[in-house]
Symmetry: C2
Subunit: 224 residues, 2 copies
DNA sequence: CCTCTCTTTATTGTATACAAATGGCAACGG
DNA sequence: CCGTTGCCATTTGTATACAATAAAGAGAGG
């Protein structure tokens, strides 16, 4: 049985959090969401548990749910963890990747090149291909635990929004770093793959942090 | 509201998995567990979702639940992840730990020394103190994300069972490694703390793997 | 005027009934 | 004899009603 209602509620609530429609700290009431999604509280509760496990939602002592509020420190933590874990994934992938997966990665990065060199850059395509690129590496790493754990970090709201703020320079660097990863995979060089990936994620963190600072100074200026 | 029924179901099912009463691969039916716990299916479903998020339980395409079956490779993955993440935690803790936490760690390791030098060694006390020791380091690391992620790995069935197989030599080494960690914390040496912790976990892996091999060869001999 | 407590209200937890979907089995046809 | 198809039993998903608990507010006492 593919749970329609609970998946629907999950996707809907998640989208509302990602889009900012539900802002951090907002108190979440099950019944309100149930009406909003057109389902009963049961599947909504189900969705909330999943979102809680994925750190989209936090609960206080009295079991009340709130949209998780990520401090800048929390965000850096997430990136540090992601750098470590995706580095590990890349390392394992280098030793295990097969020809088909390598070909797919090569194709994907070619598509990414097209997207980032277009004018204006095609961010949407970049995001999709980039996502699949990383997913295939994770698949090639062949560790269910790693996949499970990483899925909890990769899709966090803040991480997700990062690429929205990429300028062309960052997009190009992403593409080149992917290309270097392909070289490391081709040579089955685990250490090289690991360090490239760790740096790749770390750069993404700085891209986010820079964009975040710009946004803050803008809003501070507007408030003054 | 402290959810009695769902917490109770969670604790009960988890205990059954840890004790081996529910063996890996076993198909889990919600209603059977509900009767067993004396509650309705609703809190059982809740508990199953939590256990699924913590990798105690897996679900197939048709949403059927099974007790997770950990291969030796999976187990090594878990230890590798744990070594990385607890290493990170130790590194952060070294920079942030306060006097009170350090004192508590010192006291705990003294208790551990007593437990491991007793004849016979007091495994139960060792487990409890060891658990708190690691918990305090995690707390001192001060990263909610790290805590969240690590809690999913530390309490896995296999990892939990490891210490049951420790011989006195391994228990003593655990104690000494803890002591070295205290030195690193006292000097606020992040790098040192990280490497000690990573080695500490890695040694625990080998202790497990050795015990596992012995068990397997025993059962193989019995089968022959 | 403040505070403490009791009552009221809002929100979450649990049970139960029913709907939907899956897996197995049997009967039919090739 | 094997494969396929459709039905039935089993299991999970959803809705709703009710119970339990925490938050909020009103009233009395200091």
């Amino acid at each position: 049985m593919v749970s329609r209602a609970s998946d629907q509620a999950y996707a809907r609530i998640r989208a509302m959090i990602l889009s900012g429609e539900l802002s951090p700290g907002t108190h979440i009431r099950e019944e309100a969401l149930a009406e909003l999604c057109g389902v009963s509280r049961t599947p909504v509760r189900d969705a909330l548990r999943r979102l809680e496990a994925e750190l989209f939602i936090e609960r206080n002592d009295a079991q009340r749910s709130f949209v998780a509020d990520w401090s800048l420190d929390d965000i850096e933590d997430a990136f540090v963890l992601r750098a470590m874990l995706e580095g590990l994934a890349a390392s394992r992938a280098a030793a295990r990747i097969n020809a088909e997966q390598l070909a797919r990665l090569t194709w994907l990065n070619a598509a990414i090149e097209l997207a980032v060199t277009a004018s204006p850059p095609d961010i949407q395509t970049f995001l999709e291909r980039n996502r699949e690129f990383h997913a295939i590496i994770l698949q090639a790493a062949g560790s269910a635990r790693l996949t499970n754990i990483l899925s909890r970090i990769i899709e966090q709201p803040v991480v997700w929004r990062t690429a929205q703020n990429y300028d062309r320079e960052n997009l190009m660097r992403s593409w080149r770093e992917h290309d270097e990863l392909l070289s490391a995979f081709g040579r089955r060089d685990s250490r090289w793959a690991e360090t490239i990936m760790a740096g790749h994620i770390r750069r993404a963190y700085h891209a986010y942090a820079d964009a975040h600072r710009v946004q803050r100074s803008r809003s501070d200026a507007a408030a003054a």
